[in-house]
Symmetry: C2
Subunit: 219 residues, 2 copies
């Protein structure tokens, strides 16, 4: 009974996300769904990316949180267009929420739309919001066992960003172990060790963004 | 429609958790529901607690994870009785899962039963598993804004453990800000800054456990 209800919810979500995908495709916007645990550094990663690439791309952000508009305010401070969704307790974004937000934005001329999901390694993995790719950010402080313990979200992701590498000297974390397990879940996952705070490794992430925007425009 | 379904699920859970609470009460077991983000250090905190207090208390653990029995193996290595629940994608434990696990354990003579929930700051807050208290562990690496952004789980908790304080010199985290916000959600929340790894501050947590076991036995 419960399974049937959940399936219906997922099917309804797929219809809305197909509609979103068509809209984004028509405008040739690269749409990335950013997912992670709470506190893995999604917003700091966005702040750095929006600041460093502001002269290259027109970027916009949809922020998802249970409550507060703190994150939208942080990213808007970089000059980017930003809108906040409050899920009021809901543990992930869905297509309808993103559609409502997108309809309030000016998406003409936007090259990249980042959707920052609710901090959660479980629920967001199942709900498409019309994105081209899901990106999972894992802070090295969380431990190298997380791809093994939360497999779906890594299996669904095109990129795994291993964030907070500036803290590697102080924690037990094997980049190799985390990377190998992520690749066993998705063999072509792209893996970038970064520190959004110190900017270490961020260039590889920016190169990936440049490549994908180019692909999107020429599609 | 969806809200109605969710209410029914919560009501059904409350019935099972009342049954669990009666069972635990009869045996005078202190039951603690441990919740946190992935990688905040729940299992390491348990390993330290089970090791340090093994001569004082008989302790047992129910572990919740999407997949793997890694955590149950880690805590069982301390000598404690441990059982693993795999939720197969489910983002929290519920009463029925804990009842099934509890029925497979020998809970006579147990003083403290720890239930380690799935790593998630959202969903576990709504589901009682018959516990006396919910305990939320926040790693200082996650940021001092988490009580504000995930209010329900902190409002529901009797204790907030601020873990990984050994990393405080390397991150921006205000103990005061996090504590003040947690207290604004629940004014009598007990707050202990700890490092489960270095054992810093763990004595205050152990003192709290001793006090609560005593209260339980004399009830």
């Amino acid at each position: 009974m419960q399974i049937k209800v959940i399936r219906k919810i997922l099917e309804a979500n797929d219809q809305v996300s197909d509609q979103l995908r068509d809209m984004f495709q028509e405008k040739k916007i690269l749409v990335l769904n950013l997912m992670s645990s709470p506190g893995a550094g999604k917003t700091t990663l966005l702040e750095s990316t929006l600041t460093d690439l502001k002269d290259e791309f027109n970027m916009a952000v949809i922020e998802g949180d249970l409550q507060t508009s703190n994150d939208a305010e942080r990213v808007a401070a970089t000059g980017a267009q930003a809108i906040q969704i409050n899920t009021e307790g809901g543990c992930h974004l869905d297509g309808s929420m993103v559609l409502e937000a997108a309809n309030q934005m000016d998406l003409n001329q936007v090259d990249i739309l980042f959707v920052e999901n609710v901090g959660n390694l479980v629920c967001p993995a199942e709900f498409s919001v019309g994105e081209d790719y899901k990106i999972t950010i894992l802070s090295v402080v969380e431990g190298d066992d997380k791809p093994e313990k939360y497999p779906l979200i890594f299996a669904e992701s095109k990129v795994m960003l291993l964030n907070k590498v500036d803290l590697l000297p102080y924690v037990d974390f094997s980049l190799e172990k985390a990377s190998n397990f992520a690749r066993s879940l998705k063999n072509d996952i792209e893996i970038y060790p970064v520190s959004a705070k110190t900017r270490e490794g961020m260039d590889s992430w920016y190169q990936w963004l440049r490549k994908e925007v180019k692909t999107k425009k020429s599609a």
